[in-house]
């Protein structure tokens, strides 16, 4: 078709809002500048869940903060607790007992499955596969009940504290968890046929939102988003913490770097987490589950990274010798995913691909805003 010079002169770019209504994007707003069906630019406007957590922590003691960090990401509180208690222990110069490390790892892996299953629900909802969302949210309930049995809380467990965990695992927890894992393992086949091998899903996910390993690393990608480009990077393997040195697992990687490979990485990680949990539940070390920590921490600086479901989660803490931190910085994985990778991948995409690209990155707005 010949281009019409008159028409080009009068062309005004149209700004299409993506979000911030929850079902579309989570609490995140992206202003999409479009030319016809094509996205020219996407400008992110975060801040809908900004609570100033880093500042709030400066006013609270270490024990109070271990409850506050749950709120950083609603979907996987255990990873945030894991990062926080470890950074405090690093500054205080103590180490949690072996049993506590093992319990923490068990809960963190349950949290990873919880987060990935919730993501399955949201991603299928975003692509119009309503039944997938209902089934996945139903399966999420089983893990939430396990959370309640072990910690007393369903969504916000407030379970890890510097020096160990708040209470020991209740009797019968191992059996209940193993039963739940067997059920989830069988459900994975259902997810495969219903969602991951669904023709609509595959067509909409493959070949969109592609970046290669070099671009992904430059943009700050971590976790399944980076592993989707073939980079074998996992903090659990690279700098093992808690009980991870004792378990065997594979790091899931895919080569293509498109939205579908990121999806498959997460699907594979659920199976790996189930295998990690089975290994840990078989021999949980006996002994103390908590040691005492002094309320004051010595002066110092510590940086600790752990692998959250979404990627690298780091805490930087500065202590000035009091019982409160002088400064805490939280490096949430979603910060880079949403604010630096998403606008990059959206450029040049079709409008209809925006939800597929966005949810393939699995962003968590509360973790991004803090």
């Amino acid at each position: 078709m010949k281009s019409n010079p008159e028409k080009e002169e009068t062309f005004v770019p149209f700004h299409l809002p993506f979000g911030p209504q929850h079902p579309a994007s989570g609490h995140f707003y992206g202003s999409v500048k479009v030319d016809g069906e094509e996205v020219v630019e996407l400008e992110p406007y975060p801040g809908y869940l900004h609570r100033g957590l880093e500042k709030l922590m400066e006013y609270r003691t270490h024990i109070q903060n271990s409850v506050l960090v749950d709120r950083i990401c609603v979907l996987e509180p255990f990873s945030n607790e894991m990062g926080y208690v470890n950074v405090v222990e690093k500054i205080a110069g103590i180490e949690a007992p072996e049993r506590a490390q093992s319990i923490r790892t068990i809960m963190a892996e349950l949290g990873r499955i919880l987060s990935h299953i919730t993501w399955i629900a949201i991603v299928s909802l975003a692509l119009g596969l309503d039944s997938g969302a209902r089934i996945a949210l139903g399966d999420r309930e089983g893990i939430l009940r396990l959370n309640e049995v072990a910690t007393g809380g369903r969504i916000y467990p407030c379970y890890f504290i510097p020096g160990g965990v708040r209470r020991d695992l209740p009797e019968g927890f191992e059996e209940k968890t193993l039963e739940e894992l067997d059920y989830l393992k069988s459900q994975l086949n259902l997810y495969d046929s219903l969602i991951f091998r669904n023709e609509t899903f595959v067509t909409r996910m493959s070949g969109v939102g592609i970046f290669n390993a070099k671009e992904a690393i430059a943009l700050g990608a971590t976790g399944p988003n980076l592993r989707g480009c073939g980079v074998e990077s996992d903090v659990r393997k690279d700098e093992p913490y808690a009980a991870y040195p004792r378990v065997n697992f594979r790091v899931m990687t895919m080569k293509e770097g498109d939205a579908y490979s990121r999806v498959l990485c997460r699907r594979g990680e659920i199976a790996e987490s189930i295998s990690i949990l089975r290994q840990l539940l078989q021999d949980t070390p006996k002994g103390k589950f908590r040691i005492k920590m002094t309320t004051r921490t010595p002066k110092g600086n510590a940086y600790f990274c752990c692998e959250a479901a979404r990627g690298e989660l780091c805490f930087h803490m500065v202590s000035d010798g009091t019982d409160k931190p002088y400064r805490v910085k939280v490096r949430g994985p979603s910060f880079s995913h949403t604010l630096s990778e998403f606008p990059y991948l959206a450029r040049g995409a079709q409008i209809a691909d925006i939800p597929a690209i966005y949810w393939s990155l699995d962003p968590c707005p509360p973790d991004m805003d803090r």
Binding site: P46, G47, H50, G52, E54, K55, L56, Y59, K90, I217, A218, L219, G220, T222, V231, S233, D238, E239, Y303, C305, E312, C314, H316, V318, Y326, R327, K329, R331, F335, S336, L339, S340, D369
Partner: protein
């Protein structure tokens, strides 16, 4: 491998590096403001391709900001933290966006929360806060509780 990096940094940047040592499998480099960019770009060349985070700390007693660059090398599996101090008034430090594209958004956040200027960063517009007229909120002289009492309860 970390010893090699430490010794090569020491010999190459003898003037600008104040301190460099290994702490818990992680290299910690303290560097003067003048040479910080060269040190970072040399580290980038050594394979530290992932900028994990940029942290700013407000040392109000010393009237200084401390800025940490946390780096990770995917191939070497090593972590390096580079810290640099800048004066609190007229705080400004060269952007590292040209080394790591992902630095753009970290610098933008620090600009908003601390008021540190990053010349060379293409976009330092407000990120999280809407219509913010107070001093940058993560500075130590900003009191959250006083602000809430004044803003929402009308107390002075």
């Amino acid at each position: 491998m970390s010893e090699e990096i430490i010794s090569s940094l020491k010999s190459e940047f003898a003037d600008s590096i104040l301190k460099v040592f290994l702490e818990d499998k992680k290299i910690l480099v303290t560097v003067k403001k003048e040479g910080f960019y060269d040190v970072l770009s040399s580290l980038k060349g050594m394979g530290f391709d992932h900028l994990s985070d940029v942290t700013c700390i407000d040392y109000i007693k010393e009237q200084e900001f401390e800025i940490f660059y946390h780096l990770w090398a995917h191939k070497k599996k090593l972590r390096v933290s580079v810290k640099v101090r800048i004066p609190r008034d007229s705080s400004s430090i060269r952007s590292v966006t040209d080394l790591w594209t992902g630095a753009q958004i970290h610098e933008r956040e620090n600009h908003e929360m601390f008021g540190v200027n990053f010349p060379g960063n293409p976009d330092l517009s407000p990120l999280f806060l809407e219509d913010w007229e107070e001093i940058p909120p993560l500075r130590k002289d900003f009191d959250t509780r006083k602000f809430v009492r004044r803003k929402y309860y009308g107390e002075e």
